[in-house]
Symmetry: C2
Subunit: 301 residues, 2 copies
Amino acid sequence: MTTTPAHPASPRIGLIGVGAMGMAMAQRLRERGHAVWSRDVRPEADVQARAAGITVCASPRELAAATDIVFVIVVNAAQIDEVLFGADGAIHASAGARTVVLCSTIAPQDTVRFAAQLAAHGLACVDAPISGGPVRARAGAMSMMIAAPAATLAPWRTVLADLAEKRFVVGEAIGDAAKAKLVNNLLAGVNLVAGAEALALSAKLGLDPRAMYDLIRASSGASWVFEDRMARALDEDYTPPRAAAHILTKDMGLATALAASVDHATPLGDAALARLRETVARGWAELDDAAVIKTYQQPAR
Amino acid sequence: MTTTPAHPASPRIGLIGVGAMGMAMAQRLRERGHAVWSRDVRPEADVQARAAGITVCASPRELAAATDIVFVIVVNAAQIDEVLFGADGAIHASAGARTVVLCSTIAPQDTVRFAAQLAAHGLACVDAPISGGPVRARAGAMSMMIAAPAATLAPWRTVLADLAEKRFVVGEAIGDAAKAKLVNNLLAGVNLVAGAEALALSAKLGLDPRAMYDLIRASSGASWVFEDRMARALDEDYTPPRAAAHILTKDMGLATALAASVDHATPLGDAALARLRETVARGWAELDDAAVIKTYQQPAR
C-alpha cells in the first residue's frame, strides 16, 4: 500500500524555484485546478505563492515528500545540484515524487549527469526546458522541449499539456531537449541584440524609434524577441526584469560552448554574447535583457 | 488641355524592372484592375509580362510616355541612373508620367540625389522601398516605407494601397524611407544568418533539423526571415532564388555603411555581412540568400 499512486488522477505538483517563470507556471497549474506546492529561497516568493493558493514548503525534501512530480525551475546547474542532492534535497524524501522535471536552461552534459544521479536514487528524470517568458507561461502558452523515455512521460501528459500549449518531444535521449533549448536561445539572443543594434541605429539616423518599431514588426526584420523586448526598450522598462540580462548571458555562454564542442563556428552568437557580457559588466546584469540596447545608446569610451 | 490628368481616376501605371518583386507587383496591380506597362532588359520578363496582360515597352522613355506614374524596382542605384537619366531614360519622355516612385533598396544619399535630378526635370519623386518578398507582393501584402511631401503622395493613395497592405509614411524628407529600409534589412540579414547558424548547429548536434525548425518557429528564436528562408534551406531549394544572395549582401553593405556614417557600431551586422560575402565569394551569389547556411554546413578550409 502506498498513499502516492504512480499515475495519480489528481497529481500533487511541486515546483522548486518560483521566480518569474516558475511562479507563472504554478499559477497556471492552480488555474487548471491542480494542487500545487512550491519551494523557493526568497521569502517574497513564499508570500506570492500563498496569495495564489499554493502550499509553501520549507525545503526541497519537504516538497518532494508532499508531491507526486517535481518541476525544477531554478537558475542554473549549481542550484539544481543543491535542491536535488544537497542536505535538504529532494532525493532525501523517503516517499512522494518519483519523477523530476528539469526545466532550467543548463548544459546538456549536466542534464545527463543529473538524470544518472536521480536514477541511482530510483527517480525518473524528464529533460524539459521551457521557452516563451512569464506572460506566455501564465497563459499556458509557453513552449516546452521534451526529451525522456516514453514510459516516463506517459503519466504526465495532462499536466504537461496544462503547462505548455506547444510541446516538442525532441527524442528519448536525456540531454537532447537541453541541446534544442540552447540552440533556440542562441538564436533568440542574436535576434535580441540585433534588434537593439537596429533600433538604436534608427534613433541615431533621426528616425522615430516608435515608428520604426511598428515598421520592423510588419516587415522582414520582424522577430518574436524584437517585438517583445524592444517594446520594453522603447519605454526604458527594465525593472523589474521579465528576463534578467545575466540569465541570457549565461544561456548564450552555454550555447556557444556547446557549439564549440562540435567545432561549429558561431560568429553571430559570439558577437551577441560580447554585447550581453558588456551589459553585465557595465552594471546592468539585473535589468531586463532588453537593456542590452544601452550598450549601443551609451557606447563605452 | 492635356491627355494625362494630374490625378487620374484610372491611372496608367508603369513598372521598370520586373524581376521577382516587380513582376509580383505588376500582377497584383493587374488583378486590382489597373492598366499596367512594364520595361525590363530581360526578354523572359517581357514574355511573362505579356502573359499577365501587361503592355511591354521597349525603353523607359516609351514607358514614361505611356503612363501616369512610374515605379522603379531595379536592383541598384546604377540601374536607376540608367533607366531614369540614360539615353533612353524616363526623363526624356515629353509627356506622360510626372511622378517616379523609387522602390529599390539604395543608399539614402542616392535617393536624395535622384529626387533632385528628377525635380530639375519637373518630376516628383517618392522614396518608397518595399519589403516582404514576391509572395507577399503578389498578394498585395508587402510593406512599403514611404517618404515624400504629402502633396506628392495625395493622388496615389489608392494605387499604393492596392500594392502594399502595410504602408509606413516615415516622413516627408526624401531619403528617410531609404534609411528605414536599410535598418530593416540590416536586422533581417542578421536574423537570417543567425537562423542559418542555429539550424546548421542543430544538425551537427544530432538533432533533427525539421523538428528544430518547427520548435524554433514556435519559440523565442522565431523570426519572419527564419520561417521563410530556413524552409528553403531544409529543402536545399536555392534555385531559382526568391531573393538572391548578392542582393542581400549589397543591402547589408549599404546598411553597415549608413551606420558607420553616424558612428554607430554594428558588430552583428558586420558578422552577418562577412558570412554573406563568403557566400558570394564561394560562388553562391545567384542562389537564394538562404544558401548562406552552406557556409556553416561546408566550412571553408
